[in-house]
């Protein structure tokens, strides 16, 4: 049962509590923590630091071409920002399909990353886009960590209990790039990824793939890059055959599990599909074609 609760209004105050009280855990939107507690999966922490009133963590902007947002930035903001849609489209794809409208307005990007779920929607896009988080702790200044290195296992991160995620920074993509996030979804709302894939594709002047990054959701203890798929793509013509080959390379390297949501066989087969569809959507965007957000519905042949 929670015995201590604080709702500081400044970052330094919050960091002070996290440093002094080793049991303290931050809560932003609470869409993971509270739901898990109510389902009996994980009790609420003994000590809670509610950070939702800290204005320093609630900022959004483009600085020197990079997207720089505070940890309290909501999925709804990311889904609705013209900047994010234009420059970091995969992140908009992901943010717009998180949970329900209520989840999207309450849930935050900082919380989504620090919850370290292998099914988190925003992580794979941030991995392919080269996102970096800033972590701060009282008396220790700040350090930066790539999103790709943040999670170490389900619910586990490479941070200390005293550290708070303050900022997410996403660099600009190279010219000729497009990105997309595709989730395999059984229903259109309140869904969790069976598998998912984010892709960033950069085309050269001839329309061939100059660079590609692929990250996979729900096929490993953390969200992982698929280097085999990326390597298979570079230098190839961007077409359905190469997308499928990349998907097969990703599936061959993935280690999905059997669980109540799907069998490992199905997940592996679906990985081929979502990787290929994410690459198709990202490539179309790289060519300047308009693919609606979220790309999932377009890619699965469903009306938007």
């Amino acid at each position: 049962m929670t015995e201590r609760f604080a709702a500081p209004t400044t970052l330094s105050e919050a960091l002070g509590i996290l440093a002094a009280d080793r049991a303290a855990r931050p809560i932003a939107g609470g869409t993971d923590l509270v739901v898990a507690a109510r389902q009996g999966r994980k009790p609420l922490p003994e000590s809670i630091v509610a950070i939702h009133r800290i204005a320093e963590l609630d900022h959004q902007g483009v600085v020197d071409g990079a997207l720089v947002v505070g940890g309290l930035t909501s999925h709804a903001w990311l889904a609705g920002s013209p900047d994010v849609s234009a420059g970091w489209t995969a992140l908009a794809d992901a943010a717009s399909i998180v949970g329900s409208p209520a989840t999207r307005s309450t849930g935050t990007i900082g919380g989504n990353l620090m919850n370290a779920s292998p099914a988190a929607e925003t992580t794979a896009p941030l991995v392919v886009l080269g996102g970096v988080v800033t972590l701060r702790a009282a008396g220790a200044g700040s350090r930066m960590l790539p999103v790709a290195s943040l999670a170490t296992g389900p619910g586990q991160t490479a941070t200390t209990p005293a550290e708070l995620l303050t900022t997410v920074t996403v660099p600009p993509t190279a010219p000729g790039s497009g990105s997309a996030y595709i989730r395999l979804e059984y229903r259109r709302a309140m869904e969790i990824a069976i598998v998912g894939a984010a892709a960033l594709v950069t085309l050269d002047g001839d329309g061939r793939i100059a660079a590609a990054r692929v990250a996979l959701t729900s096929v490993a203890p953390t969200i992982v890059r698929a280097p085999e798929a990326e390597a298979a793509l570079v230098g190839t013509a961007a077409n359905a055959a190469t997308f499928r080959a990349a998907g097969q390379a990703a599936a061959a390297a993935a280690r999905p599990i059997d669980d109540v949501r799907a069998s490992a066989d199905y997940r592996r087969a679906m990985l081929v599909v979502v990787v290929a569809r994410a690459l198709a959507a990202a490539t179309a965007r790289a060519r300047g074609e308009s693919i609606p957000i979220p790309a999932s519905r377009w890619a699965h042949g469903q009306e938007v």
């Binding site: 049962m1 389902q39 009996g40 395999l184 059984y186 229903r187 259109r188 709302a189 309140m190 969790i192 109540v260 949501r261 799907a262 069998s263 199905y266 087969a269 679906m270 599909v273 699965h300 042949g301 469903q302």
Partner: protein, 791 residues
């Protein structure tokens, strides 16, 4: 406004504003001074002997007001509708499913109640769970109820072994007819368990005053809940009052008697009001009302021209750990497998089989969707074999007016054929199919449920009306629409009526919100009472207008002389007169329509469904798009044509139809309970038990066909609440088979199952997924573990 116009007019239900604004108080919202909090100790394992049960530590905890086990309540077994008296309030010697109640506590706070539950010491000796209905039927299988031969039961049933009930629907000689049939097809279809999932979980508060208890319960059937509470606690029924404030959905899951007895006993022991609210996980595993898992084996003989000659079938219904009302539903399932088709010879057997799973029961149109899904796919397979398209096959075989049913009842009206034609016409109107798109159709029938029901109608001193009824509103609007019927009789407007309802102390008996029966039966009662009030009003008006009663009519809020509308007196004036003399009060009940004439002499296990009273006929036609790479099926449009006899309240009928279709689509594609080999549910949460959301709803076009029933409900109406959920999954299945080129014989037709069928041809019917596990090995292991005495 004419009566017909009134029935079609948009109408604002009386409880609408309170519900939409959040003012409506549901059972868990009610506040009581000194309220204590209940919690149940559930078994948490599928099958075990209780070796030791010790509540000493729990009772000693501060703030714990009561701890109850079976030792604290009367020693008696009970059963749903007294079909099989196979259960007790608490498990004493043995637990038979994971949600079985072992003990209950009441404490000052929910946290203390949880601590008390944790302090109860139970030592179990686990027994191998019986999870597969076919294993349960093997001779030598361990028994879910070793003492079954000592149970009292309905005289039409003979429970034995792991079989709680057996019912057959038999006409002619199907064996002989099949032997002579030129085309015979045998198929197996398997449906998984599903859940009703009301948004409001089961909630009960009991509050004693002297020797009387008021039970606020989220029940769909207050009178049945009262009767069973009286029975199990051995209290006279008249000392129990069951009140439902507002009900947050039921879908059948809140039919029957659930936790009223436990909470009443707790409140008596705690000497305080006590409230129980189930958690969502508890709501999935504990209440004994889930949609039946079923195994359907079908064998049908055809003439070369596609005429159905004969059918044999066996339906295994997994009733779970307790019989509940499943034996009755088995008989319904057998009737559904026969369907509204002309078949000369039928021999259909339904077995209700015990397993160590959450007990099944009367979820919306129980057995209907699964049976229709199986038999309507079978019909498409039969049609293809003789080169007929699915519509032509149905046109040839569906019943017409005057045709004979499976027990020789005479069908009335051409509802079956008319709904087929209308649905097909409308689904085709959207033009050519796109890539991976297909259309599927399915027809079916469902019964109306005549039964006793009562209502009072009175006119207040201000001329407004009041209906006092025992009927239960579960959100469908059926009770809210009763004023439409009264107003039509009395020449008043529906909004001039108030309703007092769902309180067993004030309203006369009603069967509750079940069996699509509220309008059918309580509507009859309200009409009868209103007609009596009308007679009283006209008698008063005859004096006031110096006219003969025979020359008077009620319209526009007045009594007037027919043909001389200026000679009139308002109902309000008549009410004023009445309130200085004889009051305007009436009661109604009416005689329930009798079952149609039929011949069930060859049938066994007769529990009242050997004929279908005033059956509703329907056909759904759907258009789907299959994503063949993922197996995801998107339902684009559903045309739902239903012969409801007579539409009494169009907006209410549309609400039932729309909700039924969406619920059916979830059952068809995304829901389904997954069991582990340990006999525990693996997806008992709203994240992993995937209901469809509003965002997933297809375009739904409703068509109401009206062939009034001569022996039906008010104005020839038939039941409307359950039919819309029955044929949708079947129509989707038939569309999938066309789009995918392969049939899925496992329900739900999840994306993974569809994908597997597309990629490997596996239809899913033999899928290894407890409870339908690898049979031989499991039987062997279970028998070996059970030992020689089969315990």
């Amino acid at each position: 406004m004419s009566p017909a116009a009134a029935r079609a007019a948009p109408w604002i239900r009386g409880d609408g504003q309170a519900k939409a604004t959040g003012q409506a108080r549901y059972t868990a919202d009610l506040a009581f001074p000194g309220l204590a909090h209940a919690r149940l100790l559930l078994a948490g394992r599928a099958h075990a002997r209780i070796v030791r049960l010790d509540t000493t530590r729990a009772r000693a905890l501060p703030g714990v007001l009561a701890v109850l086990t079976q030792d604290d309540v009367p020693k008696r077994r009970y059963g749903s509708f007294d079909l099989v008296l196979d259960r007790t309030l608490f498990a004493r010697d043995r637990v038979r499913f994971e949600g079985e109640v072992v003990a209950a506590v009441a404490a000052l706070t929910p946290e203390l109640a949880a601590a008390a539950i944790a302090a109860i010491e139970v030592e179990y000796e686990d027994l191998p769970p019986i999870l597969d209905v076919e294993i349960a039927l093997e001779s030598g299988s361990p028994l879910v109820h070793p003492e079954i031969d000592s149970y009292r039961h309905d005289p039409n049933l003979a429970p034995t072994g792991n079989v709680a009930g057996r019912s057959t629907i038999v006409k002619g000689d199907a064996t002989v007819a099949l032997a002579a049939a030129p085309v015979v097809i045998r198929e197996r279809y398997v449906a998984d368990m599903a859940h009703p999932v009301p948004i409001e979980p089961h909630t009960v508060t009991a509050d004693w005053a002297g020797d009387r208890v008021t039970i606020y319960s989220s029940t769909q059937v207050p009178f049945a809940a009262r009767a069973k509470t009286a029975e199990v606690l051995e209290i006279p029924e008249h000392r129990i009052r069951v009140v439902v404030t507002h009900l947050g959905g039921g879908f059948g899951g809140k039919c029957d008697f659930h936790f009223e007895g436990h909470v009443a006993a707790l409140a008596r022991a705690a000497r305080r009001p006590v409230r129980l609210v189930l958690s969502r996980r508890e709501e999935f595993i504990a209440p004994d009302k889930v949609t039946h898992a079923m195994v359907v084996d079908l064998e049908t003989g055809l003439a070369e021209d596609g005429t159905i000659l004969a059918r044999k079938a066996r339906v295994l219904l997994d009733c779970g750990a307790y019989a509940s009302d499943t034996p009755t539903i088995g008989q319904v399932a057998a009737m559904m497998i026969a369907g509204p088709y002309r078949i000369a010879d039928v021999d259909i057997e339904a077995l209700s089989v015990y397993t160590n799973r959450t007990p099944s029961g009367s979820v919306r149109a129980p057995s209907g969707p699964q049976a229709c899904w199986a038999v309507e796919q079978h019909h498409d397979v039969l049609a293809a074999r003789v080169g007929l398209d699915p519509v032509a096959f149905r046109r040839k075989n569906l019943v017409h007016d005057g045709d004979e049913g499976p027990t020789r009842q005479r069908h009335e009206g051409d509802g079956a054929i008319d709904t087929l034609e209308r649905a097909v016409e409308r689904i085709a109107a959207d033009g050519a199919l796109g890539p991976n798109e297909a259309i599927g159709v399915a027809s079916g029938w469902w019964f109306s449920a005549p039964g006793p029901s009562g209502a009072f109608v009175r006119i207040e001193s201000d001329g407004s009306g009041r209906i006092v009824t025992g009927a239960q509103e579960n959100g469908t609007g059926a009770v809210m629409a009763l004023p439409i019927l009264a107003a039509e009789e009395l020449g008043m407007r529906p909004e001039e009526f108030a309703i007092t309802y769902q309180d067993t102390d004030t309203g006369p008996y009603d069967g509750g919100s079940s069996g699509s029966q509220t309008t059918f039966n309580n509507g009859r009662a309200v009409v009868e009472a209103a007609r009596d009030v009308k007679r009283q009003l006209l008698e008063l008006a005859a004096v006031a207008l110096e006219a003969s009663v025979a020359d008077l009519e009620l319209r526009d809020g007045h009594a007037s002389v027919v043909g001389s509308p200026d000679r009139r007196v308002s109902i309000a004036e008549l009410a004023t007169t009445a309130h200085s003399g004889a009051l305007l009060l009436a009661r109604g009940s009416g005689v329930p329509p009798e079952a149609p004439e039929h011949d069930a002499s060859a049938c066994v296990g007769r529990l009242g469904f050997e004929s279908f009273a005033s059956p509703t006929f329907f056909c759904h036609a759907v258009r789907i798009r299959l994503d063949p790479e993922t197996g995801i099926v998107r339902v684009l449009k559903v045309v739902a044509a239903t012969d409801v006899g007579r539409v009494l309240n169009r907006i209410g009928a549309l609400g039932q139809l729309t909700g039924g279709v969406v619920m059916a689509l979830g059952n068809a594609t995304t829901e389904g309970t997954v069991y582990g080999a340990d006999g525990r549910q693996r997806n008992a949460s709203l994240l992993d038990y995937k209901l469809l959301t509003t965002a997933d709803g297809p375009e739904i076009e409703a068509i109401f066909v009206e062939h009034p029933a001569s022996n039906g409900g008010p104005r020839g109406s038939k039941g409307v609440g359950e039919p819309p959920i029955v044929p949708t999954a079947a129509a989707v299945a038939n569309a999938i088979a066309i789009a995918a080129g392969v049939r899925v014989r496992r329900l739900p037709m999840t994306p993974e199952r569809v994908w597997r069928a597309v990629t490997t041809g596996d239809d899913g019917a033999t899928e290894v997924n407890a409870p339908f596990g690898p049979r031989a090995a499991a039987v062997e292991a279970a028998v070996a573990a059970a030992g020689p005495d089969r315990r």
